[in-house]
């Protein structure tokens, strides 16, 4: 929700989109987990857009969503997808390329 800071030229801008279906336990948890993680690893460089498929069912097709919650990393490219309530922080970091894949 902030522009890249100038003191760090390496900074990237993170465009994240979280697909949920209503206020379910999983979707509330996922958003919670995501916010915490972003604050810790990309503070000031990220933007989260939450899409509720119940309100916008047609949007499921665009990003090829079948599981919810699904987190889509739109930026930086390439696009990455992480499914689940994001409770497994290690896996989320791997999925976002913040940790090397094993």
């Amino acid at each position: 929700m902030t522009t890249p800071t100038e003191e760090n030229p390496e900074t990237e801008r993170w465009e994240l989109r979280l697909y949920v279906a209503g206020q379910t336990v999983n979707s509330v948890k996922a958003l919670d987990n995501l916010k915490k993680l972003c604050e810790k690893h990309m503070a000031g460089q990220y933007h989260i857009e939450v899409i509720d498929l119940i309100l916008n069912p047609k949007l499921a097709r665009g990003d090829q969503i079948i599981a919810v919650p699904t987190l889509v990393r739109k930026l930086p490219v390439p696009v990455r997808k992480i499914i689940g309530d994001l409770s497994n922080t290690e896996r989320v970091l791997v999925g976002l390329d913040l940790r090397p894949r094993r």
């Binding site: 279906a21 379910t24 498929l53 069912p57 499921a60 079948i66 990455r80 499914i83 497994n88 999925g95």
Partner: protein, 483 residues
Amino acid sequence: MESQNERNREIAKCPSGIGGLDEMTCGGLPRGRSTLVCGSAGSGKTLLAMEFIVRGARDFNEPGVFMAFEETEDDLTKNFSSLGFDLPDLVRRDKMVLDYVYIERSEIEEAGDYDLEGLFIRLGSAIDTIGAKRVAIDSLEAIFASLPNEAILRAELRRLFRWLKEKGVTAVITGEQGEKTLSRHGLEEYVSDCVIFLDHRLINQMATRRLRIVKYRGSSHRTNEYPTLIDEGGLSVLPISSLGLDYGVSKERISTGINQLDAMFGGLGYYRGSSVLVSGTAGTGKSSIAAAFSDAACRRGERCLYLAFEESPGQIIRNMASIGFDLDPWVSNKLLFFHAARPTVFGLEQHLVMIHNLTDKIRPAVVVMDPVTNLTSIGDTAEITSMLTRVIDYLKMQGITALFTSLTPGGSPTDEQTDVAISSLMDTWLLLRNAESCGSRKRLLQILKSRGMAHSSQVCEFELGDRGISLITAKNTGKRNFL
């Protein structure tokens, strides 16, 4: 009212529109339920699912959603345009939604608990957009390869089938054949109403397709395996057991195309709707007798279907022109239809389905199969006899007169096994042979049998000239005994 109750006891049916399948299922797939279609790769699962949607949208005014996991919208559109299915047009007219679901395992990371509500919403939105009555999911099992957590998937699939039922749509779900189970991931466990199995195997190096209804809860259905054909008209199944011996018989007679031969049948020719066998060794004139018969049918303005198993139509037309039968105009006037196919292009049963389909399409008065013995390259005598029985029964039910030629190998002409086996199915049997006398070869013809009519027992010589076939009977040869 009583019949209404009678009908209610059987569950409501949703016609698939696929030739033969609705007959097998006594009306179609269970309406408002899910049907599982499983089979190996290339067995025609996608085709069945797509035909169910397209024919539903086109012929029964029931819009449908086709959810594809394996082929993209573009691929499906291209593949099905060859069957005359204009998918983009159906999509434009809101008769159909084509949705390709792309999930790539390597691009997905799993981090915690999830469900497939996205899929439900996506499918639900597609259904609601066009008011779909039908849904096809091809193939649902692809989901197992794409998402890692099998426990979640199983719970969600159970929920999906319940949800489809609540939606009131009739669904076709396809699944890959498993090693010990019908579908690789045991989908049959979730779909309890109707399961169809498509088989695709090699018999004598011949690709043979069969369809079987494994179960159909609450409905009577045919339980055998039925031959299935995929051709330019799509999928068709042939439930043959509806045939029997209760066809009407005709007293009408039709010309053989040769005056003197008509004379040998009391001056009238064959019975309409009967089956005629013309057998003989190579070069005895079997195809000429067949051509005369086809020519005569066309002269009467009747349609003739000529199934050529040995020669190409062009070759037959050329050869028959040399003995005075000009068949070309009949072809242009759409009275004579050639269908040339090497017997080995597919199995016997596929030939049977093909003959069935062609007959339905062309509606001929006479059918010629030349020669049936070429089929021995793809089946043994018992199989050919069984297939010809079905062909003959089917043609007789339609009142179609059929002429079969049969090639007997050299040597004694009458004890060839195939001839004997199929001759019992025939009403009339003409035997042709060559005889040498006075330093030349002569063609001889005799009627071995002709059920239900007086016929000549003479052996007569016949000649192929440029003005047709002429017979020389003992009577008109005068004193000369040519044998």
